[in-house]
């Protein structure tokens, strides 16, 4: 009885030492984290991740004036 109580108390105490897993959670190749609509899942990007990423990448490179001067980005 005492051993069981001790084990329960120890388990409860050690539970505070745990950390929330921070890696992206994937199941069957899909993001399985907390539910939130991905930013590309809209009509303006035709629900295409590639299209969204391309726009973000373009804006990303436009932050570099060297790229803008060269006419890229």
């Amino acid at each position: 009885m005492r051993a069981a109580l001790f084990a329960t108390a120890l388990a409860a105490l050690l539970a505070g030492c745990g950390e929330t897993p921070q890696h992206y959670q994937y199941q069957e190749g899909r993001y399985a984290g907390k539910p939130d609509t991905p930013p590309w899942n809209h009509d303006r990007f035709e629900h295409s991740r590639e299209q969204w990423h391309e726009q973000i990448k373009t804006r990303n490179w436009k932050q570099s004036e060297y790229t803008r001067i060269r006419g890229g980005g």
Partner: protein, 204 residues
């Protein structure tokens, strides 16, 4: 897959605080809450340096680790977000964060601490994207509009960069090569010291 990050170039930041103002305006952040702020080192001394600081969307985020109600989550693009419906305003994340990013609105007669508010990388929260509910709780969702965070996009000297970490690294690398200095501000030598000088020595 993008890994969203901020990078502030201390050689370029002129402490104009426009990033702070733009953030507050874009998201209609309440009085007393600053999702972003500018920190100046050696203020008033020749050679002072300023940096714009907000949530850095850490790869191994301490706020996520300590949250007792597990209200944080990380999107596929590496943006650390939180659910205000779950947040209990305990303040653990504030103590854990090395950047002082979590902010707590104070309201009521005794200045009660409200639910945590922080930079969302302009990515909103779990509510429906670009909805009024999302805007009221987390501010505008610019990523869902195909835009980058407003603080970075409107920075006049482009000191503050935001977006995919790989692209930011390329932009910064090119800057350092062109101006011929700046790499000493970052990297191994600064973090761990050089062979002949101790770590943390500002002259090293």
């Amino acid at each position: 897959m993008a890994r969203m990050k901020f990078l502030c170039d201390a050689e370029r930041c002129i402490e104009c605080n426009a990033c702070v103002t733009a953030c507050k305006n874009e998201h209609e952040v309440p009085w007393g809450v600053n999702r972003r702020r500018v920190v100046t080192m050696n203020d008033g001394v020749p050679g002072e340096r300023s940096m714009s600081v907000a949530c850095m969307h850490c790869s191994d985020a301490p706020c996520m680790a300590v949250c007792p109600v597990d209200c944080f989550y990380k999107t596929e693009d590496g943006v650390v977000l939180h659910d205000k419906d779950l947040c209990i305003g305990c303040g653990y994340c504030f103590y854990a964060c090395p950047f002082g990013a979590p902010q707590f609105p104070q309201s009521g007669a005794f200045g009660m601490r409200g639910k945590m508010d922080k930079c969302t990388f302009c990515a909103g929260g779990p509510e429906k994207d670009t909805s009024e509910e999302e805007f009221a709780k987390y501010g505008r969702n610019r990523l869902a509009e195909g835009k980058l965070p407003v603080c970075a996009e409107m920075c006049s000297t482009k000191a503050l960069l935001g977006g995919d970490g790989d692209v930011l690294a390329d932009i910064y690398r090119e800057r350092v090569l062109v101006r011929g200095k700046g790499s000493e501000v970052w990297g191994w030598g600064t973090a761990y010291g050089k062979p002949d000088k101790p770590a943390g020595d500002p002259q090293s």
